[in-house]
Symmetry: C2
């Protein structure tokens, strides 16, 4: 099963010129049949989720493990910025995979991972801004995540912006939104 994920990872990693990656492609690359593939992961979404969850794990752990700048010792406001930067970097590093998943059937915002990110971010924001209501913090979390939606990231890249510049803009945006929320 790790072999399947590795094969899929290889395909998505090298996905530049290639068209969309099908389940048959992955089965072939992993040297197994389609039936086996679908038994291991119930659906295409299931496979993509498993793969990207594996690659996302470091971010989760950094937040939960508690080492600064993501960990709980850093100032709350900077934790928000650091978290968003970590997620954005993850997306920049895995965009073919992320895009494949977000294009897919069930809306990306109903994903387990989106819920987790939104909730984590909401909590961080609430922490940073004691004056904000729960609804405000939740909304701010949604909006800041929307600002790093894969479609937008790819559009910015296509427009010639460097990843570093995107990260800087995004950090500035986060600080601006945070500055306002408590009002």
């Amino acid at each position: 099963m790790a072999r399947i994920l590795a094969a899929a990872d290889g395909l998505f990693g090298a996905a530049d010129t290639a068209g969309p990656i099908t389940m048959d492609d992955i089965a072939t690359a992993a040297g197994i049949g389609k039936g086996t593939l679908f038994r291991a992961f119930d659906s295409r979404d299931g496979l993509l989720d498993a793969l990207s969850d594996a690659k996302f794990a470091p971010v989760r752990e950094a937040l939960e493990g508690g080492r600064p700048p993501l960990g709980s010792e850093a100032p709350a406001r900077e934790r928000v910025v650091a978290f968003l930067d970590a997620v954005l970097t993850f997306k920049l590093d895995n965009r073919h995979l992320i895009r494949a998943r977000e294009v897919s059937s069930t809306g990306a915002l109903r994903t387990e991972r989106y819920r987790w990110m939104q909730d984590a971010l909401r909590a961080l924001i609430a922490d940073a801004m004691p004056g904000a209501t729960a609804g405000d913090a939740g909304y701010a979390a949604h909006v800041l995540l929307a600002a790093i939606h894969i479609d937008l990231v790819e559009e910015l890249l296509a427009g010639g912006r460097t990843p570093e510049r995107i990260r800087r803009s995004q950090a500035a945006l986060a600080r601006a939104v945070l500055a306002d929320v408590p009002g």
Copy 2:
């Protein structure tokens, strides 16, 4: 051809419980064959674009026609807010259609309409914030549009927020971002 659009509009308008709307559905509803449908609009995307452009026309005209609050006589900052509110309202009123289009193949940000909106908004923001660089204004435009992405709007609705509340939150966000851009 107007008849086809009307039929499609009816389907999307009543699309609540129904599953996805296929091209065959639309052909049947319009009382024509599939070939004719594809000759009139080259592709599914073409049809959806034509339909939603028709419904979006009032917004375009309000901006270009120049009546306040969208028109050029209002203060620039409020024009930004009014424009975003108009687009958001349009999306709220046509979400099944918009969703069908954004789920579709080619990324929604490469759409003619997205380009138009982003450009119009960039210009309005540049107008409102003489201190901002072109890049900053463009980025702010992207971000404010991302905040009214259909997926997010539907998620907020599903979370129990009323359309009015979403519009208020969004207006507040726009003002917050505008307050910051010139820095």
